[in-house]
Amino acid sequence: MNKIKIIIIPVVLLAIALVIILNLNNDRNLVEKSYPPLPQIIFEELSYFKNERIGNNLNDRKYMINFFASWCAPCLAEHPSFMKLKQKGIIIIGINFRDEESNLNQWLNEHGNPYEYVIRDDGDIAFKLGLIGVPETYFIDKQVIYKKIQGPLFGNDIEEFL
């Protein structure tokens, strides 16, 4: 009996160790998971204030996409730092998520508009980009998302990612 134990216990332990290691590798893959491609609607839709399409204007640039809404309090918290970024010449595309047109106008008039382009969305763009909740910010270089932050962003944090 003791001989069997000596053989079986190490085998079982090894098997468990193997399974755990394999699963850890899976998790590592999840962390490095690539973000979904940018939906074309963003570039084809008329932007709200400028009445023009983004098209290929930003193809080889670094920029940010920020989901915001007038009903969202944390969006207001991160708003001043976006105003500062605008002064530094950083391009931000604002996607207005499930919002009333009048509320959006009032909100931007009251607090200022940090966005180069504003695009209104009833949820389609959000779905395609995998939005979990506003505010959410995507950092894009050459039309590829390289970073996604959920929740409000503040001055120094943003510059780390740019």
């Binding site: 009996m1 069997i4 134990k5 079986i8 216990i9 079982v12 468990i16 399974v19 755990i20 394999l22 699963n23 899976n26 999840l30 998971k33 979904p36 998520f97 499930r98 009833d122 949820g123 389609d124 959000a126 779905f127 395609k128 980009l129 995998g130 939005l131 979990i132 909740g133 506003v134």
Partner: protein, 122 residues
């Protein structure tokens, strides 16, 4: 005569129409219940009232109306949001979940003979 037929048709309509609607809605609701709300992990998007869940419900409804099947929608959700969005675990994780029970039963199995010997001595 025409009136009578009209009443019959009207009754038929009343009887059949709601059933048809609820059955399609039921399919959607059953599907919603298999999708996890990523804002409040314990709830499905059917139970949750967050904007995330509301939006997902609307988008899934649109996709159903476009004629996509459950499997296609689920695959799309999995590619966008990852494995977390589904309540069903991947099969390779099942072993990890059941491994404590397997280890416990092995321990008991290996020690049964020892207990038997002890009992015999008594």
């Amino acid at each position: 005569m025409i009136l009578k037929n009209f009443y019959k048709l009207f009754l038929l309509f009343l009887l059949l129409f709601p059933f048809n609607v609820t059955s399609q809605e039921q399919i959607r609701i059953d599907f919603y219940k298999t999708i996890r709300c990523l804002v409040c992990d314990g709830q499905s998007i059917y139970d949750s009232e967050t904007t995330f869940a509301q939006n997902l419900r609307e988008q899934i409804k649109l996709k159903f109306n476009q004629g996509l099947t459950k499997k296609e929608i689920k695959n799309e959700l999995l590619t966008i949001y990852g494995e977390d969005i589904s309540f069903q675990p991947k099969k390779n994780k099942l072993f990890l979940w059941f491994s404590p029970f397997i280890i416990l039963s092995l321990i008991f199995g290996l020690n049964i003979s020892r207990y038997k010997k002890k009992l015999n001595k008594k």
